[in-house]
Structures are given as structure tokens and as C-alpha cells.
Amino acid sequence: MSTQTDPSHLTDTTMAPELSGVAPVAPPRGWQSRRSWGWLRWPPVLLLIALVTLSLLAPVLSPYDPETPAPADKLLPPSSSHWFGTDPLGMDVFARTLYATRTDLAIAVLSVLLGIAWGLPFGALAAYSGRFVDRILTRFAEMIQSFPQVLFAMALFAALGSNELNLVLIIGFLNFPVYLMMVRSVALPLRESEFVQAARCLGVPRWRIVLRYIVPNVLVPVFSQFALSCAYAIQLIAGLSFIGLGVQIPTPEWGAMINQGASYIVFGEWWPSIFPGIAVVLSVLALGGIGRRVRRALLREAT
């Protein structure tokens, strides 16, 4: 025990209410110390930053245009001029792999945000309204989730047509029930919490309670799920593009690139498929790692 005890306990809040109120309005203790930059050193974060930086620097790093075929240069092995070789259309695999990072991450983030944008208000509404509205919304979410994802996406593509916008919409739609159910589960106990009851008892209207009292209080768990959802979304984007749905050649996209090179692997021309494959693995590892770490950090805080 230190002999230099903090004298602040002498002016304890309980004894002098008027004084205790004058304590400066500052974030609570512990918050400041937790807002450190240590998380930047997590390997998955470093990996993600590296991927994003590379994709942004793509025009500087590679002289080749990712979408211009050069039939004369097709299927060249990796060399000093084409670091990752060229694909069956003669496009540079290095440039395409980097540019594809933009495509895949953008579609993943947009579609997950779309899922959140719909899942959050409807989940809060389901939880807060209860009874009939809740039952309809949760049954609907369960219905979507009961279809195998890829099969369901294929059916939607068949109905809507295959392009990038539809890919965003469809993956967003597949994320919608995930977030709806998650927000609902967090918001249900909130509905009976004292501060929501107090607001209700003082006449605050329902929509304002949902928007100002329920939604902000479910944002933390929602965004802890964000990175994990993006990881799943990238797998799904690549998987769907691999079977020819969603992004089409010549737009750079990992799944489509893997598919394009797949039939050449048996002839020893492995490079058009392997490099985008590695990119998929790295990006999923990075996002999945971040997601798991965030979740663990939140669990630690909760206990």
C-alpha cells in the first residue's frame, strides 16, 4: 500500500452533493486510457491496411490497365514485367488482383451496410412493437435464413439479372435477417429497461424511443459484427462470381479471375487463379481476425 493516498476521497461525492456536481464534465475514467492506438498493431489490422493501401496504390504500382486485353501476351508466366503473369486474355494478373481488392471490398462493405441499414430499424421495431409486428418480421427473417445462401442468391440472380448492383442488393438482402435478429435480441431487454420505461411513462412517442433510445444502444454489438460480416460477404462475392454470377470479366474481381484461370491449372498455368485465390484468403483472414478480436474485446468488457 502506498502511503500517499489520493486525498480526493475526502471530498467524496456522497458527502457533498453540491460539490460532487461540479466535477468537470469529462469522459468517465478509463475511457481515455482505453482509447489507445494499440489496436493498430494487431496483425489482422495491419494486413487489412496493407491490402487497402496496395489497392489504392495500384495505378502507381503497375503500369498495366486491369481491363485491357492483350491477346499477344496471354498466359505469360510471372516475370519481371508481369509480376504475377498474365491471364488467358493477356491482362496483367498483378494489376487485376490489386484492382479487384477495390471491387470486392467495396461490394462487401456496401452490401453489409445495406443489410445493417435495413436490419437495424426493423430489428428495433420488431423488438419494441412486440406481438404481431415482431412475429411477422422474425418469421420473415427466419424464412430468408432457412434457404441455402448460394442457392438463394442464384435464384435471385436468375430473377433480377446478373450485375454488380444486384450483387450488392442480394448480399445486402442476405445480411438483412442476420442484423434484424441480432438487433432484436439486443433490443428486447432494452424495451423493458428502466430508461425506456421512464421515457414511455413521460410520453415520448414510439418512433422517438426507437430512434433515440433503442437504436443508439444497439450500435456497439452491431458494429462488432461488421468485420465478420464483411469476411463472409467476400467469400460469397468471390463464390458467386466464380460460378459466373455477379461480377463479369473483364471487371477485376477475385472469384471471376479464379474461374477464368481454373481450366488452365491442369496445363501447368497456375498463376491466373492462384494469386487472386491468395488475395481472397488474406482478406478473409484479415477481416475475420478483426471481427473475432473485436468480439473478444467486447466480451471482456462485458464481464
Binding site: P17, S20, G21, E194, F195, Q197, A198, A199, C201, G203
Partner: protein, 325 residues
């Protein structure tokens, strides 16, 4: 002639959980007159809070009103539609809960929460509502209210949070303020301050107070009328002086005896026996098993409310005799 604000008659509420049901309010009779603060006292589980929640139509999901009426200035609260109910809550009848820190939204500055209530009921502009919130906080004895208004609930002490909660409840000058054990969890010095604040500000706003407490002394200081609840009923109701000096129900006598002997040192006084289990049907007077005067008749027949003096009634077969002793 002061107006009758609230009139509860034969209010019965049943809570059903997993097929078992219990009647938590067993015919509550209460009247709140304008300008006369009402204190509701009773042990835990006597139905004090349940009565408050029933008035605000904010009963737990498992609870159901099975009989009775709650009239607010002549209008039945139990049949109000959604928009009228919202206007009533906070606008006409407001409530202050036990634990103020838990009763404030952790992610919204307290000033915003006060302004929200004001805006809803007074249809005021955002900036005007904010100014009003700051003024209210100042009236509640909050030092530096303009700064405090921007504070989040966790940045306030328990007493400060309770002040903010009172400001929120009084934001649109309701006619009735229900304070449900507003000082549990606060220490004694602050308890006195907060109670003084509630009664002073309520009086200033022209608001009639319903103070729920297990402490008969607290109620005696602030209220003009008193209702003693036991096992989901009001067993005695009347003007403060009458109830304290000429108690007509043995339960009230026991409660008073307990609170008067505290502070004398020695053992804490208590009423022998237990509050009845409301899941089982009660025959006769619910207090009979603990009552020193109980007779076989008490155990058989439930006593009706007997008026022992104008405005003073007690649910005891021997109310007249008890009042005279």
C-alpha cells in the same frame, strides 16, 4: 372545492406466469384530491408500485387489469387510446422512478432528455426546449445547469441524476407527479434534499404529489393524505393527522409502532409474521394471521372499508374500536 384528480375504485390486477396466476392488486380504492399530496406506504410487495404503474398504464406484460376503474378527472384511463395516453403520460401524470441513473438514457445528454419531454407536450421548438431544460435543471438546484445539461447520466452522481429525473418529470408541469420511492439508493443527507426538492418544486408547479414509500415518517413530512397498503389492498386511507393519531387499522398501528421505536437502540422492531402469498387465495382478512386482535370472524370474512370519520376509512371489522384505543 378542490377537484378530484384520480379516483381508483375496486382496481384488480392479476399477474400470470407459467400458468400460475396471482392477484397483486385486490380491489384498490384511492382518491387523489388536487393540492393534497398523497402518501402510499406499505411493505415490499404490498402493491404500491403496481398501483402507480397501473395508473400510467405501464403494467408488466404479464399483468392484466381484471376489474375496476381508474378515473382521471372523470375520464377512464383504462380505455384511453394511444395518442391520448401519450399526451397524458408526462403531460398530465408524470413519474419519478427509484433508480434515476438507470431511468435515464445512457447515450443521451440529460438536457436533451428533459427537452424531449418538454417538446413532446408543449410542441416547442428544439432551441426553446433546450433553454427550458437548462432553466429546469437550475431550478432543481443543479450547479452550472448549462454545463450539466450536456452531461451524460454516468457523469452525474446519484443525487444529481435524481434531480435531472425530477426536472424531466416536471418538464411540462403535470397535474400529478408519482414519486416511486425516489430516494432508495441515495444516502440520508441527499435523501432529505431530494425529498424537499420534489415537494417544493411540485408545489410550485401546481402539481399534486403521490409519494410512494415504505417509510411512514417520510410520508408524514410531505403529505396531507395517506394510504396504507397491505397485500394488494388499501387497508386504511384518510387525512394524515387522522390516520397517524387515530389509526383505525391494526396494521397501521403496527407500522407506526415500528417506525416510532427506531432510534431507541436495541433491536430493530418488526411486525411478526409474513406478507401473505398472493398466489394463493386469501380467505377473510389478509392481515388476520399477523393481527393481534384477529378473531375467527376475521379469518372467515373479508372486512369491508368502514368509514370511521369523514374521509377516513379502514378495512377492519373492528375499525371503530381500533380508532378509539
Amino acid at each position: 372545492m378542490a377537484e378530484t384528480l384520480l379516483d381508483l375504485s375496486d382496481l384488480r390486477v392479476t399477474i400470470a406466469t407459467r400458468g400460475r396466476s396471482g392477484e397483486v392488486l385486490r380491489g384498490v380504492q384511492l382518491r387523489v384530491t388536487e393540492g393534497r399530496n398523497l402518501g402510499i406506504v406499505g411493505e415490499s410487495g404490498s402493491g404500491k408500485s403496481m398501483t402507480a404503474l397501473a395508473i400510467l398504464r405501464e403494467l408488466p406484460l404479464a399483468a392484466r387489469v381484471t376489474a375496476g376503474r381508474i378515473l382521471y378527472r372523470g375520464a377512464d384511463l383504462l380505455t384511453l387510446d394511444g395518442s391520448r395516453l401519450r399526451a397524458l403520460r408526462g403531460g398530465e401524470i408524470a413519474i419519478v422512478f427509484q433508480n434515476a441513473i438507470a431511468a435515464l438514457n445512457p447515450l443521451l445528454p440529460v438536457g436533451r432528455q428533459i427537452a424531449d419531454v418538454y417538446r413532446v407536450h408543449e410542441k416547442a421548438a428544439k432551441s426553446e426546449a433546450w433553454k427550458r431544460a437548462v432553466v429546469l435543471l437550475g431550478e432543481m438546484g443543479m450547479p452550472d445547469p448549462a454545463l450539466r445539461a450536456r452531461a451524460y447520466p454516468h457523469e452525474l452522481s446519484g443525487g444529481m441524476a435524481q434531480r435531472a429525473m425530477v426536472a424531466m418529470a416536471l418538464a411540462s408541469s403535470p397535474r400529478v407527479l408519482i414519486a416511486d420511492e425516489p430516494t432508495t439508493g441515495l444516502d440520508l443527507t441527499i435523501e432529505a434534499q431530494v425529498l424537499e426538492l420534489i415537494s417544493r418544486e411540485a408545489a410550485r408547479a401546481g402539481t399534486t404529489l403521490i409519494l410512494i414509500s415504505h417509510d411512514i415518517e417520510v410520508v408524514a413530512d410531505l403529505c396531507a393524505e395517506i394510504a396504507v397498503m397491505y397485500a394488494g389492498e388499501v387497508v386504511e386511507f384518510g387525512p394524515l393527522a387522522d390516520v397517524l393519531e387515530r389509526s383505525a387499522h391494526p396494521y397501521t398501528r403496527e407500522l407506526l409502532a415500528c417506525s416510532r421505536t427506531t432510534g431507541n437502540g436495541g433491536r430493530l422492531p418488526f411486525i411478526p409474521g409474513q406478507v401473505p402469498n398472493l398466489r394463493e387465495p386469501i380467505s377473510g382478512c389478509p392481515f388476520a394471521p399477523r393481527c393481534p386482535r384477529a378473531t375467527d370472524f376475521c379469518r372467515r370474512e373479508a372486512p369491508p372499508a368502514i368509514e370511521v370519520a369523514p374521509g377516513h376509512s379502514a378495512a377492519c371489522h373492528y375499525a371503530d374500536e381500533v380508532a378509539k384505543t
